[in-house]
Subunit: 206 residues, 2 copies
């Protein structure tokens, strides 16, 4: 059985939990507290030298890191990842967009606010607003007249972007000006076997 | 023929130029000056709403952005991208590592120093040092006893990481403490049809 090393509030971890659940793949959940340095121990760094969750233990001792790489690995040969070259490439385009132009602004703001760092990070939070809203604008451009990010079908591109977009208000991003995104969030939530980011019952707790 | 919208000093653009050249695929090079706002015009934003190069025009009017998504698209079915699921996943892992944990620190520092922003960005440059060196440490961990990043063979993972690592000293990162990386840089440079980041002759200039 797969083992997922994770931290429940993490959207990056949630991506993998959501896909595994929607694929009906059972997994064992190993929870680490990143706030207590549990991903910086020698034991964990042997699993991922970059010291980040999520990490998927594919077989005993075989570890895969980077949430979007795990999504690609798990979705190969399923409806969540189109085979046609151009559609496949568009999924990849959104996955890299998410990690470079979206997550560092929208997810990081949420993390700081969730962990009471608003005062310490006051200036940094201000600086994250413009690039965060720019990323939401790029998504809106697509979603204002398409049901999903790629090919009018739910794929891992939607899972990857949904993870932090639907909780963007927790990072002080107001989604009310993005009707395309709001409609898409509802469509993602209505997918079969959808589970919420806060659902602690996902996976079999170790 | 492919058209590549690019900016010559860009490592992200260089990744695509290098792979196209090593695959022997001719392409037309359209140069834009990101410093003059040429990637923020309505005309360019219609090609990539995220306003960044490189953009590959696959067929007239069909545009693909995100350098690493372009690498994946072009390398499908070639020796540059392993087919075996775990090896394929490891390539993806390095590509996302590059965009999240490496490029924002190492490439950004180089960009500021190249464009005489050292004074304006003095504090930001200091803050990029620790995460940049951490990324180099993760690479060294692998390269100290392996010839390449994945599977002991040259892949797009090497191309993606090489682009900004080999010019890291231009961003004030000292590579002398990373013998594994230095040996790997030499191995990449000795690959067939290698071209340098500064080689303006790559591609057919429009």
């Amino acid at each position: 059985m797969y083992r997922l090393y994770d931290f429940l509030p993490s959207g990056n971890g949630y991506k993998v939990r959501l896909l595994l659940t929607q694929l009906g793949i059972p997994f064992e959940l190993i929870l680490l507290d990143i706030l207590k340095g549990e991903t910086r121990t020698p034991e964990f760094l042997a699993k991922n030298p970059n010291g980040r969750i999520p990490v998927l233990e594919i077989t005993p001792g075989e570890f895969l890191s980077e949430s979007n790489a795990i999504l690609i690995y798990l979705s190969q040969g399923t409806d969540f990842l189109p085979l046609a070259p151009l559609e496949h490439a568009r999924v990849m385009q959104w996955l890299f967009f998410e990690q470079y132009s979206h997550e560092p602004f929208i997810a990081t703001s949420r993390f700081w606010l969730q962990h009471n760092l608003a005062d310490e990070k006051r200036q940094a939070l201000v600086e994250k607003q413009a690039p965060g809203y720019a990323a939401l604008g790029v998504m809106e451009q697509r979603l204002k007249d398409h049901p999903f990010l790629v090919n009018d079908r739910y794929t891992i591109a939607d899972i990857a972007l949904f993870a932090y977009t639907h909780v963007a208000p927790e990072g002080n991003f107001d989604l009310s000006g993005f009707p395309g995104i709001l409609g898409w969030i509802d469509r993602v939530k209505s997918q079969p076997n959808y589970v919420a980011i806060t659902d602690e019952a996902i996976g079999q707790r170790a």
